[in-house]
Subunit: 339 residues, 2 copies
DNA sequence: GGCCATCGTGCAAACGTTTGCAATCGATGC
DNA sequence: GCATCGATTGCAAACGTTTGCACGATGGCC
């Protein structure tokens, strides 16, 4: 019932606690004989170093705090999965701080400090420059996922939202759509803002002005209603870009409900490439969110930042791809080479 | 850059570190004057107690480790959300241990020990009695979610899967289905086994034998294929119970693909009541998984177990409900009262 | 064989708290 | 006025590690 400590191992193995400690920290010098003795005893006793004690004295915790909001979108779960897996493979533990109701990752940041996390990864909640500054000042590296904050020492990794939006627009234009619409949170979210920017920019270069409908909530019902209104309204689009696959799927549903045929009457492009996008009933053309790339970018920046806390702030953008399925039309083949 | 400790606060406030500590642990005696002085200084200095140090000496950590697998199903995210929120509201921190590739929550359990967690909640991975015993012996409470393990001191909370399966069968029988089928993991998963048991039991009481098709993987494509084969096979069912909403939705898709009309030719009932079940394109009748009830049951058991580590093992089953939507038929009204 | 570099080891001081014990203090009851 | 009592406080010892320092042993090199 009482914990087996480093001293127990030391006593039984006939060495000092320091020796045991050195056996368990790689890179430290210990003779082969000692190592073997210690490891044997440790195994027999079932000894495991206390990470609390280790973290208290040591400089590194191997602990990272993740600030996340509620995972309303399947995409969030994918992301968390990938990140958790990557961290685990690296021997890093993950502490979860839900940025629940309170506006900010505020409490999450403090929690990270309380446990002396090596770093905090912020994937949700609004993060004020003040809080970021607080952390950096306290020596806690902050890595933002999916947004950029112009504060010294705060790194960011994100999908190339602007590029993704552009890809969507170019595809729609290329396949003959002329009345483009955007459906999303609009200015309310960092990534949505960027996606819209890329989409509208590319459309404008093709001489098309985008009609944007911003929705207050990503909830399926809300989006379905907004899409229905848009499609049944006075100026229905023939090409729609939704800032999220989930929203795009709701839009597909709405199109069916009002009797529009996809992609004949209406082309739809989503963002993220979640598994459901590939389902038979959706066959959604979408911009692929490079989850693996973003996650490994985060780990990369984590390493760099830990190695050199004073390095310049870095923003890493991971390029997106386009996954063409059945909610967009084929490129008109007869136009090929004979304009 | 250097951390502000309890001694800093003590020095500036002109009291001993003990006094500061007592101000910050409720239930300890401290005069109003001291309290005020200390709190003021602490706020000015931005002092926060180190949870590492506190956990090292104290007996309680306010830290709980959650062992989870990859969240392939949207349901998993819902569950995690609810649990994280409830724990946060209670002031408990949550550490994530993904039971990734390695078969067991094994590594997760060890991680929990390393950080002196107050308890470990196991929601995924197979958990061997040996490991459970290891934990209990080490004084680490284990709470299982969604399964039962017959080991002393290991508590469980689960949805009433058997009851849910029964509800599904009774609904199908009541609405006139006679050729019942089950689609799920079959014996491979604890909850699926129970759901099947409840379903087949109730069907058998109505004189119907259930055709079960067990699928190796919950992946949408796999399930879609299995359902298609079943529907196009020699003995297509007129009532299907899927052990998961996600699988039920894949089945709906398959039914449409082979030209079956739901619910006219085929009734379908799912399990979990995820948001997607309510979508217009699915309108899935399903057994409601009482997430809130399960989560509060977990917290309940957590408290009880911490209060009395030697109490008898407890298994708590939370009743399910039935949410009738459009994938099942209306009860035949003309049969009412005139059999 | 002497010298220097290297390696392995133990001692003791941290790390930032909590908490049992004893002491102080003011008030209360007689 | 004195003994008692409870509340408040400080001291010091834990909690389980890591790590700088010093010291002895070992081995290579000339």
């Amino acid at each position: 019932m009482t914990r087996v400590t480093i001293k127990d191992v030391a006593r039984i193995a006939g060495v000092s606690p320091s020796a045991v400690s050195r056996v368990f920290t790689d890179g430290a010098s210990a003779s082969e004989a000692t190592r073997e003795k210690v490891l044997t005893v440790a195994r027999d006793l079932g000894y495991r170093p206390s990470l609390l004690a280790r973290g208290l004295v040591g400089t590194r915790t191997n602990l990272v705090t993740l600030v996340m909001g509620r995972m309303h979108d399947p995409f969030d779960a994918l992301f968390l999965d990938e990140l958790a897996e990557a961290l685990a493979a690296r021997g890093t533990r993950l502490m979860l701080a839900s940025a629940g109701r309170d506006a900010a990752g505020d409490s999450g940041l403090l929690q990270a400090l309380d446990y002396k996390s090596d770093a905090v990864i912020v994937a949700a909640g609004t993060m004020s420059p003040e809080h970021a500054d607080l952390c950096v000042r306290a020596g806690l590296p902050v890595i933002l996922s999916g947004r950029v904050l112009d504060a010294p020492g705060v790194d960011s990794v994100l999908a190339d939202n602007v590029g993704g939006g552009r890809q969507a627009a170019e595809l729609l234009v290329r396949t003959g759509c002329r009345r483009l619409a955007y459906l999303g949170r609009g200015g309310a979210t960092f990534s949505d803002r960027e996606r819209l920017k890329g989409f509208a920019g590319a459309a404008s270069r093709a001489g098309i002005e985008v009609a944007t409908t911003a929705v207050a909530d990503r909830d399926h019902g809300t989006v379905f209603q907004a899409a229905t209104d848009l499609f049944a309204g006075p100026a229905p689009p023939d090409g729609l870009f939704a800032s999220t696959d989930s929203m795009a799927i709701a839009a597909i549903e709405a199109a069916r409900a009002v009797g529009l045929s996809v992609p004949d009457d209406l082309s739809i492009v989503g963002f993220n490439n979640v598994p459901a996008a590939a389902w038979r009933s959706n066959q959604l053309t979408t911009v692929d969110y490079p989850i693996a790339g973003v996650v490994s970018g985060i780990l990369d920046l984590l390493d760099s930042r830990l190695a050199d806390p004073d390095r310049a702030r870095e923003v890493r953008r991971i390029p997106t791809g386009l996954v063409v399925r059945a909610t967009t039309r084929e490129k008109h083949p007869h136009r090929r080479g004979c304009p």
